[in-house]
Amino acid sequence: MVSYDHIIIGGGLSGLAAGIRLARFGFKVLILEQHSRPGGLNSYYYRQGRLFETGLHAMTNFADPGKKDAPLNRLFRQLKLSRKAFATLQQQQSTILFPGDRSLRFTNDPQVLIDEVARLFPESAERFRKLVDLVVGHDPFQPRPFASARKILTKELANETLADMLLWPLMMYGNSCEHDMDFDQFVIMFQSIFLEGFFRPEGTIKDFIDLLLNHYRDLGGEIRYLAPVKSVTQDAGRVRSVVLASGEELAAKFFLSTAGYPATLVFLGQDDPSRLDQYSGKMSFVELIYLIPSEIRSKLRAEDTIIFYNFDSPFDYCCPDEAVNVNCGVICFPENFQDLTIGNECQVRVTHPANYHHWKKLSQDEYYPMKSLWAKRSEAVVGKIIGNYSQNIVYQDSFTPITIERYTGKVNGAIYGSPEKIRDGRTSMSNLFVAGTDQGYLGIVGAMLSGVTMVNQHLLQTSEH
């Protein structure tokens, strides 16, 4: 049997980051990816000769290369990649829209949001400034039980609408719980989005994944595609090997699973339904992707990078009763980044919360009409915000919770994973750890930091090698 120092299950961004970190220090590492392509939630596909990115609207945690202690720059140092050589484009601006024409604009300069809060909610301006101080002074990485961000915000801001408006983008960008958010998670997301901000790589997500992959291979790392793991063999509290769907068995001293906690429990044979349900997220989404001619941009409200809108009152971040909730969503103009040249066609991407079970029960014959139906309903609502674009669509595509589940292995299509995070990355096996979405950090930068952190904590500082 072929044997490795480390086997990493999953070639998404957390798995690639972990792999680079281990290969960098001379370990023999293998990444097993179930699909024919790396990237996991953040990947790409081609339609009509054009590359479409999945997942990526914008990366969070923008920081200039000189800011050494910023998460983005620490990540690049840890991976031994040059931050200076990584060209980034910052967002233009983003807007939060709520009922009653309330809107809050924010950019990568936190002062803009502070001024906007003072304009819209003058009575809460001082309290908001204090909240920013509270966030900056709070260390979210100390182990603590769940604390309700909603309760803390209600107390600190004494303004429920403002609290909801702040929560909405942060929840939409990475909250696996319904209705509320853990305060530590709120602090991480507040820093990542409101204080540091949105950017994207100058190239595509494919360029970024290729950069990571080439670096990993140059350091001696191995990756195998179309290699789904079926189970693991165990011996005295340790994992001995992974068994692939093909029946092939591969051994290692240590294992890191980025396949999600429920999938990891299945590998271990600890798959009783109530336990799986406890760690299966309920938040999933549909995304509609449109190509429109760039010249019609002048007739649309198209100056934002991202619009986070909500027309539901009261606001509630949850799995909808219907198949899709078009009353709230995210409208992204992926071309709206500073210094990005816009071609003849541009994209509009719209994301709404969706109910996995409604989509799961559909037959093949019902599935496509259902997608068209909800796309129409979405266009009617989004058209009211940005102007009518449905007459001008050159090409359109969409994905549902079912698409997400099929391509990422995320149970219930829950992209943000389990509402209960495995913060320390430990499992019932002493040499098997979890990283990625279910360990706790979210987004591209967060997932990669999760891979790096779990390797640092569990796999580098051990004398067992």
Binding site: F25, G66, K68, R74, R77, K80, L460, Q461
Partner: protein, 83 residues
């Protein structure tokens, strides 16, 4: 390796970890972390790089011995004398 060689190795590793590290006026008796603005994640890289290059296992309890350039040299000299 002698003291001077060990010193050079440490400086080389630091520059390898951080493309912006300014080692020109490093005080050899003061903590590296403060002077170079290194965090614990960067510090781990020094330990791992020594492990990779010289098969040297440094237990976590000994990490304080690597605080300054002088203390690194003192700690590593007996351990790398045959390297």
């Amino acid at each position: 390796m002698n003291k001077e060689e060990i010193r050079d190795v440490i400086l080389e590793i630091i520059q390898d970890i951080d493309e912006d590290a300014d080692i020109s006026d490093l005080q050899s008796d003061l903590p590296l972390r403060d002077q170079l603005d290194l965090d614990s994640m960067d510090f781990l890289d020094i330990v791992m790089e020594l492990r990779k290059r010289y098969k040297l296992q440094i237990p976590e309890a000994d990490y304080p011995e690597l605080a300054s350039l002088d203390s690194c040299v003192a700690y590593l000299e007996p351990r790398l004398k045959d390297s």
